[in-house]
Symmetry: C3
Subunit: 333 residues, 3 copies
């Protein structure tokens, strides 16, 4: 495997193999599998789970890792092409990225969306420009529009919980959050659930429709897998017979990159905090999923997060499990 960037680059069979490998490594640890191997980790955006789970995962396989973030260079990293660097930044990513990559056998990059241009973010312009500088196997640790590690962990969580692939009803719901957040998780999640063959409903208030290219890609995938992708602003309709609700906040598409516009729209939506009444029409054992970090009492009520519906800790733990499988497949001789 030379690139782990988008789950749809892999067939359902290939994903099944990765998840089997994750389970095998749990049952039969291989503490020397990657001895002498190194994973380079470049975080252009902050990280807790991703950093911890990758470092722990490499250690469990006998390899090592190192972490680089922009503040480690003198006065930060420049990303703009063709610029005369007479300002603050003393180093350009055009040097930093290939150098960091060259110290490892694989490189993970995290770079959040710039949220200046929706088109740029939908085509993952920044991440792809960094990726073009790399000639070792590359792992997307969250970019403007992708988060394949999260999606693979979520897929494993759905399997672990025996939530049906074909026919399982998966609600991706917008939730309130005081700030405009990136599209990576909702885009990756709707796509993952569609690829798993589920009956996917995107539940969102007016103004927070997901961009059409994301929805269109998800519908195409569903066509191939026997799944279904619909959208609605009606909670009751969405949640009917749901197996799982996956909560996430994201930016307004119509006001993308326009903070005051997004804010004005968002302010009216504080009641989009997932709580028990949401589950009225859902299956009795309907689960609550979230990629974390999550704002308690804002995105979701404490009683949901602390109650039996919540599987957010399993999702986070599965991050390490699936990433170990990716690393094993990528780096094992």
């Amino acid at each position: 495997m030379n690139r782990f960037n988008d789950l749809t680059d892999f067939s359902t069979d290939e994903i099944g193999s990765l998840l089997k490998l994750a389970n095998r490594l749990e049952r039969n640890p291989e503490p020397r599998a990657l001895e002498g191997k190194v994973l380079s980790l470049l975080f252009l955006s902050p990280s807790l789970r991703t950093l911890a789970s990758f470092q722990a995962g490499m250690s469990r396989l006998g390899g090592g890792s190192f972490v680089i973030s922009p503040e480690m260079s003198i006065h930060g990293l420049e990303t703009r092409p063709g610029i005369v660097m007479d300002g603050t930044a003393a180093e350009h990513v055009r040097e930093a990225v290939p150098v960091i990559a060259s110290y490892g056998d694989a490189l993970g990059i995290r770079a959040f969306a710039e949220r200046r241009s929706l088109e740029d973010d939908l085509t993952d312009r920044e991440f792809e420009s960094l990726a073009s500088l790399v000639n070792v196997p590359l792992i997307n640790m969250e970019s403007a529009i992708q988060h394949p590690c999260q999606s693979l962990a979520d897929w494993k969580t759905l399997n672990d919980l025996e939530i049906p692939a074909q026919g399982g009803r998966f609600v991706l719901s917008w939730a309130y959050h005081p700030r405009a957040l990136p599209l990576a998780v909702p885009a990756a999640t709707v796509q993952m659930a569609a690829q798993r063959g589920m009956d996917v409903v995107v539940l969102r208030p007016p103004g927070f429709e997901l961009p059409e290219p994301i929805m269109e890609k998800a519908r195409q995938i569903a066509n191939e897998t026997g799944g279904k992708v619909t959208e609605t602003a009606d909670r009751k309709e969405a949640m009917e017979d749901a197996h799982v609700i996956y909560a996430k906040s994201w930016s307004s598409t119509s006001h993308y990159g326009n903070r005051p516009g997004d804010q004005a729209l968002r302010e009216e939506l504080v009641d989009w905090c997932i709580d028990e009444p949401w589950f009225d029409k859902a299956r009795a054992d309907c689960r609550f999923m979230h990629c974390l970090p999550v704002r308690r009492g804002v995105v979701v009520a404490d009683r949901i997060l602390d109650g039996p519906r919540s599987v957010v800790l399993q999702e986070a733990h599965n991050r390490m499990k699936v990433q170990m499988a990716v690393l094993h497949q990528m780096l094992k001789n």
Copy 2:
């Protein structure tokens, strides 16, 4: 071992075994003992020695570790229970701690005292509330009232120096410091020396008596071990025939959490800087101990710290040695 939090959870025999194990690992390194094992390190307060000694110790035993501190999450970690998270913090410890714990085979947590309520700090409320979120073996890397790694290292140092357990005179002395410092080290130290069966004297100026529950616990321990615990404000009396003086600054108990009150009391006490005259009545080879970091010329004179009495570097080095024994006992299959 499932929890390393308080030396008094362990019998003197168990502590003896840990110290023997520390010596054995020094003579006969076991560079594969913990292969594939991971130690999660969560620092809610800054660290130099603790971070370095734990990371080095895990490497020496063939395992790995990773470090998490609050600034790694987006906008820090919330600790207050039941709060509506519409402010700055984007993640709650209720999620962060169990997730971080789940990536490792054991978790170390450092969380300094909040110093708002003496009662809360004496019962280690904050650390215990974090600990309740963890279901892997847990190491206290310094909390409001405990510092078992430091105490075990100090115990080893006393053994290495062949300072008598029964009958050895151990003076824990308050020292001047411009700021009010936590009670963890003095509380853990008086208890450790009592548990080792020593003749313990707490030397402190008026207003800086240790809280009664700490003294009472230490006296009870001394009762069982044949040691003794007394207190005085008289330097000469305290230091008579002393084998060792252990210097440490701490907050005023009577003005706990009251910064100006503590400051007013403290300002008069700049002469509580340990220097050669303090040792007039002590044994000729009386040692100087301190947990570090130490302010030179403030807590202790340079000539003491740089002279033959000082064993502060040995204490710090023993941190790694004893922690390796704890990790080995906790994590070796």
Copy 3:
């Protein structure tokens, strides 16, 4: 090897052996050579390449490492001797350095020049004062006047490119940079090229002559190796038949530590940006070297850095390779 501080501490044969070892470890990895060994890394100045390459190198040899920087201690590290520490800093390097050293089997220290006194920096006063506190093998990861890891990597790069040692023409050129930079890299580089036996030309504008002790040391080395060291302010003369130009900015010697004076001199020299016309009289395949980080469009034109002349990425990659050889020789039983 107990100290890796200055390439001239080693004979040409010894350097040849290190470079052979670097190549051998590339062909035949030894992922268990340093199992159970620990490298302590102390960065008193920021680092990206050095941190990443040392951590990766240790992992590739089966060892571990940990990183300490001043912000990890409470309120930073004090370096001044004999000071009464009643200010901000809570810990002195006199304790911190030996403690950190004692957790590892070797210690790397980075400490940039203070640029207050040229004499102090030329004698590496600060680094030597830190080094005197260490009793494990020590690696200079860049000090006021040395950067042996960079120089050994550059030597390997010159070998890899088959640039002649005897008779190869090596131009070390000053380049424009908005800020006054340390002398470590130019001093180490002119010395390395002289030690390799090359025909070394230092090209610099008036006011930016390298200090005489640096030039004198380089000339003496050249005397022994059959090399040559000259200096000029004339680009054409310097570049004639050059095999390689090594660009680097540095402080004005005549205004050392005097920021406004240096700035006034420097402002007139923005045309010292290496670009294609510089290579008019050079050999057709003349290479461009730089230690990184480099300011694009300021120190060097993008078309040079992105073109076939540039070997800056190879140099950076060779950092890891040669450091692995140093670590292997220093730490392998």
